[in-house]
């Protein structure tokens, strides 16, 4: 009973891990996102660093007021990242093309690394385009934070009882509840640096802008293919690495990176027992053969010794018999000789008597 459970779990260890839900290891499958899913296009050429998007996010998500008010634009000059109290921030970068502002928030990957990494599947990519997090199952291992290539998720380390991961949900909960129709940050942008819409449409809009003003833009839509594609897209007049967007992330998604290692997993419980049992069998057989050979050798040695001993014995017996015969013969000869001598002496006496 216990063993059966154990075997069942063993199977689960191998098979379940080898069944990724998306981004199959085998097959020529490429996930291009849910059809009609939404995203946001950010245009660095239009952003003026007014922090209005930060205000919009703060209001919609009922976040606490920051230490320095949103009207203080000097905070954009230090490089900030997402925090528990700020799902999005705008930073100023000194670039080859002068100061440029860039907004940071969850990129809402098409095939999210966080979702692939989470061992309770707390993260999921919604058909709406949002990557959402379910606090009710989170164990707090923080592997999602290790996995995220954009270093977005944060953790409430100071909460001893209900710590959780925090990140932008593209206002999915509020939009689904009908409270708002576009994300809080997009709603507040005064310069249309942010456009919310279907991702496919956003790519067309972005491409039109690049084509219309090739001298103003780098010919690349950041997020179209990065880490397998993201729902947030960025266009810029300066190289993306100069505004803090890494250009060395590649186009392979997190689940795809994992798929190779995961595909090997099932092979281990399938083949290792065969190999090991084989090795055990060979070892046992060698032992057996060795034992048998040893026993045979011993038996042979004993038999040889015995043969030799009995031959020796036979020879000794023969010798003894020969000795005995010789002795008898000698004794007989001696007796006969004595008798003859005695007879001869008797004749002499007789002759002496007769004379």
């Amino acid at each position: 009973m216990k063993r059966r459970n154990f075997l069942g779990l063993m199977g689960a260890a191998g098979v379940s891990a080898a069944l990724p839900t998306k981004a199959q290891a085998g097959g020529n499958v490429h996930f291009e996102g849910y059809p009609g899913s939404k995203g946001v296009l950010f245009d660095a050429n239009r952003c003026i660093g007014c922090r209005k998007c930060e205000i919009g996010c703060n209001e919609v998500n009922n976040l606490p007021q920051p230490e320095k008010p949103f009207t203080d634009l000097s905070v954009t000059e230090t490089t900030r990242r997402t925090e528990n109290e700020a799902y999005t921030v705008v930073n100023k970068y000194e670039t080859s093309g002068g100061p440029v502002f860039r907004k940071i928030q969850c990129m809402h990957c098409l095939e999210p690394s966080c979702a692939s990494a989470c061992f309770v599947a707390a993260f999921s990519k919604q058909p709406s385009g949002a990557v959402v997090y379910d606090e009710s199952v989170c164990v707090g291992c923080r592997y999602c934070m290790i996995a995220c290539p954009f270093e977005i998720p944060t953790y409430t380390y100071n909460d001893p009882i209900t710590p959780k991961v925090i990140k932008c949900d593209l206002c999915d909960a509020n939009i689904n509840a009908g409270k708002i129709s576009v994300p809080g940050c997009v709603n507040k942008c005064p310069k249309e640096a942010l456009v919310y819409g279907e991702r496919d449409e956003l790519i067309k809009i972005a491409r039109n802008r690049l084509e219309a003003n090739p001298e103003k833009y780098i010919d690349h839509i950041y997020g179209e293919n990065e880490v397998g594609g993201t729902s947030w897209l960025f266009i810029s007049g300066v190289p993306f690495s100069e505004i803090g967007l890494r250009e060395d992330l590649g186009t392979v998604s997190g689940p795809e990176l994992n798929s190779g290692a995961l595909s090997v997993v099932a092979m281990v419980p399938a083949l290792w027992p065969l190999l090991l049992a084989g090795v055990y069998g060979i070892t046992k057989r060698t032992d057996k053969i060795n034992t048998k050979e040893k026993a045979d050798a011993v038996a042979k040695a004993i038999a040889e010794t015995q043969d030799k001993a009995s031959e020796d014995m036979k020879a000794a017996m023969e010798r003894a018999r020969n000795d005995k015969e010789a002795t008898v013969k000698r004794e007989v000869t001696k007796a006969l000789k004595e008798a003859e001598e005695a007879a001869a002496a008797g004749d002499g006496e007789k002759e002496e008597e007769g004379a």
Binding site: A13, S16, F119, A121, V139, M145, Y157, D159, K164
Partner: protein, 389 residues
């Protein structure tokens, strides 16, 4: 000497005093951690979500507990039968190692009481961590069963003991399968983060690196433990154990030498397949070479010399060097070369409380080992079950 006077004397030994102080500190840190949260006692932050509780307690703990599967498979499967006396201490260390890996994990997890969630509430089967969790949980069960033979002999439960003893081969094979899976999966955890781990350490071969090096770590740890426990545990060591131990050192030294040589070659292949030769000429490259040449290739040669010249002293010191090398490798992957792209002021350095909890956990392992191995038949054979292997 009566037993009473022995126990009275042994209570105030330097070992007991230091261990007692560490346990007190650990208790205080435990209250601090669970009363005030992870943030109150650690230097972890949003850029550095994993510290030494993962990098050392989990990664090194699991690698150094590999002695269990290495020794039991060497003895029961690969025909090193005459070293059967080495299996029990190795299994006990492995069992305690894994048990306290799970204990240490409670400190690191945000909501540790939810640890069974991946198996009973919702499974994230695409996660490498799910793989690690499931295999560690199963292997802990296997180790518990393997270890349970000794306390069952001590308690005189003959029937149950016979049942479990009969499963030795099956348990050993399961142990190797599960160890292969989770040792390699620990390396595979980092496959998802090519942007954060330095390219010299990042490789799609990470799972293989972790598994192969765990075998060398396991053998070295068995030798190192034998060396350390020899003096305090001498009185409970059987002639059988003591008589074999030299031979075991030569056998394992030879094995570890070959494994380290293989590990060296696959590490070089990792560099070659990603064509990262030019990176060796950087500061990170030199640090990488220190690890690879000083803590992999050098011990491989030293083990070979030690085994050839039957130099026990050299073998023992090489075991220490190898263990340090594995620790260095795991810390490089998880902490030192991880997040290498961040500016130095954003890098992680453990807090004294984190170090304190780690020392606390290691101390608990040592104390448990001492108590169990002096009470139950670990270093000697129970007289009722001699000649039964």
């Amino acid at each position: 000497m009566t037993t009473e006077s022995v126990s009275k004397q042994s209570l105030l030994t330097p070992f007991n005093i230091i261990a007692g102080l560490i346990l007190l500190m650990g208790a205080a840190l435990t209250v601090w951690r669970f009363g005030w949260g992870i943030g109150a006692v650690t230097n972890l932050d949003n850029n550095n979500p994993w510290g030494i509780w993962i990098g050392f307690d989990l990664l090194c703990g699991v690698a150094l507990a590999a002695g269990g599967y290495v020794t039991s498979s060497a003895v029961y499967l690969f025909g090193m039968k005459k070293h059967h006396a080495a299996v029990r201490p190795a299994i006990l260390t492995a069992f305690l190692g894994y048990l306290f890996v799970v204990v240490a994990l409670q400190y690191d997890l945000g909501r540790p009481w939810r640890l069974p969630y991946p198996f009973v509430v919702q499974s994230g089967t695409t996660s490498m961590l799910f793989e690690v969790g499931l295999c560690v949980a199963l292997y802990l069960t296997v180790l518990f069963l393997e270890f349970s033979v000794a306390p069952l002999e001590w308690l005189g439960k003959k029937k149950l003991r016979k049942l479990i003893h009969g499963m030795t081969i099956v348990l050993t094979i399961f142990g190797v399968v599960l160890s292969t899976l989770h040792q390699s999966s620990l390396g595979a955890l980092y496959i998802i983060a090519p942007a954060k781990l330095h390219p010299l350490w990042y490789s799609s071969y990470l799972p293989t690196f972790f598994f192969v090096s765990s075998a060398a770590a396991g053998m070295s740890m068995v030798m190192l433990e034998g060396w350390i426990s020899h003096k305090p545990m001498h009185k409970v060591m059987s002639d059988d154990y003591l008589g074999q131990s030299d031979d075991l050192y030569y056998g394992f030294a030879k094995g570890a030498s070959w494994v380290l040589m293989g590990y060296f070659f696959i590490k070089v292949i990792g560099i070659a397949s990603d064509n990262e030769w030019h990176l060796l000429n950087t500061g990170w490259g030199q640090w990488f070479l220190v690890e690879l040449l000083g803590f992999v290739l050098l011990p491989s040669f030293l083990y070979a010399i030690g085994a050839r010249e039957k130099n026990l002293k050299l073998i023992k010191w090489t075991a220490l060097l190898t263990v340090l090398g594995i620790v260095l490798n795991r810390l490089n992957v998880s902490l030192i070369a991880f997040n290498w792209h961040l500016p130095s002021e954003m890098r992680y350095v453990p807090s004294w409380q984190e170090v304190g909890v780690t020392i606390f956990v290691v101390t608990m392992i040592v104390i448990s080992f001492k108590i169990i191995s002096s009470k139950t038949p670990i270093f000697y054979e129970h007289p009722d079950y001699k000649d039964e292997h």
